[in-house]
Symmetry: C2
Subunit: 216 residues, 2 copies
């Protein structure tokens, strides 16, 4: 085994250890944690904005981005407490970043935490950050073949949310194929077809999350 591989494994083991500590900490506080993974512009923040009125007061959001605090401000505008992590180049959130965020961001009084990962359908799939579940977010405008082309993100996810279904009349995207392809990777994958602009499917998605939290 090369030195690089050994060191990488050491770094990943440390990350796993911090993630396990975070998970323990979240559980003790009774907080269910959802790690949202999707491409830049997949509609992760818009989905949270659409859910906000129904989870205000009991949910918070940690935002991950290379740069800007745009998403934090959007989430606060929508009525939820939010904290922004800027990774300054890093292509994914890691457990240490989330642990550091918790030094400044209180989770008192909440039972649901969304962590919106850096916009990237590849790298975030390989890192644990203390979450209970990962959810893969894929927009119709990215094209129907994304579940097949990004299999790792699908395999680590507990559900897939298809966003931007309101744009289907204007684009060529076979949503049934997206479902078929993701179920070829994960046979029982729950799939939600949503549109943040109309709220379509967001209630079902929230219901499902709450069932997961209750069943934990």
């Amino acid at each position: 085994m090369s030195k690089t591989v050994k060191l990488e494994q050491k770094v990943q083991a440390k990350g796993h250890e911090i993630a396990m500590e975070l998970r323990e900490r979240f559980r003790k506080k009774g907080i269910f944690v959802v790690n949202l993974i999707g491409s830049p512009g997949a509609g992760k923040t818009s989905l949270l904005e659409a859910l906000a009125p129904r989870i205000a007061g009991r949910a918070a959001v940690i935002e991950g981005d290379l740069a800007t605090d745009n998403d934090k401000r959007r989430i606060e505008q929508a009525g939820l407490r939010a904290y922004q992590i800027n990774t300054v180049g890093a292509c994914h959130l890691d457990a240490a970043m989330v642990r550091d965020a918790l030094n400044e961001f209180s989770l008192d009084g909440i039972s649901l935490l969304f962590i919106e990962n850096v916009g990237n359908l590849v790298c975030p799939a390989s890192f644990e950050i203390g979450e209970d579940i990962k959810v893969a977010i894929v927009s119709t405008t990215e094209g129907e073949d994304k579940p097949a082309k990004y299999p790792k993100a699908m395999k680590v996810a507990s559900a897939m949310v298809i966003t931007k279904t309101d744009l289907l009349p204007y684009i060529a995207c076979d949503v049934d194929r997206m479902e078929r392809d993701v179920r070829a990777l994960v046979p029982d994958m729950p799939v939600f077809r949503t549109a943040a602009t109309t709220g379509e499917g967001t209630g079902e998605f929230l219901q499902w999350i709450e069932a997961q939290a209750a069943a934990r």
Copy 2:
């Protein structure tokens, strides 16, 4: 300096060396190489399909994806020679992958090579693969704040192509802001507004590429 950082630098130095060898090889053959960087579903392949009739016979495409040969087949259907690299998990193409591809993929008779990187607006920005220029591809449907949120990809690019302008009537996206934001990072950045479905702006983009190739 930690061992990890040192080893990373060693790996990157090796990648740089191979990239320089590739560049030399491409120049000797008179081939201008464009590395396309953008999110999953940004419209990189569609842009190449739109250009295909105008560059058939003198251009070829190397496709990078985690999985599937969908894009290779689409490019061949559009009339260009194409080669598919599957990175099987890796979040970007590296120079060694391109070098290996050239063992199986002949570049005889072409003067223009597009390398479509893995769909990822973060990691591919940090790796040289023998290209003359990088071009950042950002779709209107990803939202207007992507240039500001993914600054590294913008800074390493020689131009930004905005895709899917045909969808502007149906979405909220301030394209002027995309241009302003990218020029705050790179003052003279050429920006092309394109739609693969109508061909809008693709001629101007191709003209610009050919001017870059001529001026090399």
